[in-house]
């Protein structure tokens, strides 16, 4: 045992010898000559013996690797690998009263919307205990987004406009101009100061100021019902029906930039990760595109049902279908199926809390909370 780093670094050890340093509260192992680790005086210490990094932290405050001792004091190296992911059902909300189309969470609450009830519901997300409900919007609600203080909601032909709602009381703060008559809004995308909506009727994207919901710009018609919008710092990307393509617009003034090739069927959802776009189609596929020129990168085989909602998290894509009763995840890299959870009825709305929970809106009218469980395998190698 050594009191300081200076003492331990001056010491000459024997190969695989262990020592503990009080100053760093770490146990180190003395490696064979030629270690390629880079000394940092925490995990790796250079000795005066030949100049190589020789002492490597194996347990305590600076534990660089997974080393385990058994009852006989034999040292093992533990190698842990992610074997597979799985989705486990955790709990569900009280019945909403209709299909739940969308939801968001913050630190404490979940907010969800849908059909028939036509209200925003607010509940504690850890146990789904009901907290508040908005007034009725008079028609189905399809899209919900949030910032730190407000919710932004759009809906059907009986709603026809976007609403800004206080998260605390679910009272309406402001509303946009009527989108069209008849009309319905499906796509909604927020940035720091604006939000962008689009749907059925005018089939345009409307850029609104978040502060007072005034209209800033309107795009040319997409050519069919807009179903989903996403964006990056400079552009927004729009998908929908009839046109069946991804269209790219400049965020500043909503001028048209370019479009993808046709996917031959409606596109219901789009999300972006860096420079890669992911879409879900009525052609029953998940497809990857480059956000720069909207060129196709890859796509799944037909999945047997319309891909209705799509969300991204880490290395994975999560989707729900129009009729299929699963939440299914795919690897972003090669679009292979990762895992799925099968329900009794189909899911609509989908929301991911990164790495932990998946919330899915059940078509019979409740929100299901699923845990993303990582299953690991490991083995111990004597050293």
């Amino acid at each position: 045992m050594y009191a300081t780093l200076t003492e331990i670094k001056a010491a000459t050890g024997r190969e695989d010898e262990l020592c503990t340093c009080i100053e760093t509260n770490t146990t180190y192992k003395y490696l064979a000559a030629g270690s390629s680790y880079t000394a940092d005086d925490k995990f790796y210490l250079v000795t005066g013996n030949g100049g190589d990094t020789r002492w490597v932290g194996i347990s305590g405050k600076y534990n660089v690797e997974n080393y385990i001792r058994d009852i006989n004091n034999t040292l093992y190296e533990s190698n842990v690998y992610l074997q597979y992911n799985k989705l486990d059902f955790i709990s569900e909300s009280e019945p909403y009263g209709g299909t739940v189309y969308d939801m968001v969470t913050d630190d404490e609450y979940i907010y969800y919307i849908g059909a028939t009830t036509n209200r925003i519901y607010k509940a504690y997300k850890h146990n789904f205990q009901f907290v508040a409900q908005s007034a009725s919007f008079g028609g189905a609600l399809y899209g919900l987004r949030a910032d730190s203080t407000h919710l932004y909601v759009v809906g059907s032909n009986n709603v026809q406009r976007a609403y800004k709602i206080l998260k605390t009381t679910l009272a309406t703060s402001a509303s946009s101009a009527v989108y069209g008559s008849p009309s319905a809004l499906f796509g909604i995308y927020l940035d720091d100061t604006h939000f962008y909506v689009g749907g059925y009727g005018p089939n345009t994207v409307v850029k609104l100021l978040k502060s007072n919901m005034s209209t800033v710009a309107t795009s040319a018609s997409y050519g069919g019902t807009i179903r989903s919008i996403t964006g990056d710092d400079t552009y927004i990307y729009v998908v929908g029906l009839t046109t069946n393509r991804v269209r790219k617009y400049l965020k500043s003034n909503l001028s048209y930039v370019t479009q993808s090739g046709s996917y031959g069927a409606g596109i219901y959802c789009i999300e972006i990760d860096g420079t890669t776009l992911y879409i879900g189609t009525d052609g029953e596929k998940v497809c990857k595109l480059s956000s720069s020129d909207l060129s196709a990168i890859s796509e799944t085989s037909a999945l047997g049902d319309t891909v209705y909602r799509l969300k991204l998290d880490g290395d994975y894509i999560y989707i729900t279908f129009s009729d299929d009763t699963t939440v299914t995840s795919f690897l972003k890299s090669d679009l292979s199926v990762d895992t799925y959870y099968e329900n009794d009825s189909s899911y609509s709305g989908l929301y991911i809390e990164s790495g932990y929970f998946v919330y899915a809106g059940d078509d019979t009218g409740s929100v299901h909370k699923l845990a993303l469980t990582k299953m690991y395998t490991s083995y111990l190698k004597p050293i």
């Binding site: 609450y109 205990q129 009901f130 907290v131 508040a132 409900q133 908005s134 007034a135 009725s136 008079g138 028609g139 189905a140 059907s156 032909n157 009986n158 605390t168 009381t169 679910l170 009272a171 309406t172 319905a184």
Partner: protein
Amino acid sequence: MWVFEGGSIVYDGRTISEEARAGAIEVDVLPEPEVREGYYSQIRANLETQELYYDYIPIPIPEE
């Protein structure tokens, strides 16, 4: 529970501030709405009179 002017209802008062509560009417039980064929009821709060009432709104045409 706290009923706000526009008809939103907060059931858990711990989730809102005193200031927010001042903009609502606190009740233990909501009044029963009338049943009017072809209409749905939406509760409202009149803060001046401290009374709750219902608006009766035509049920919208079914949508997609």
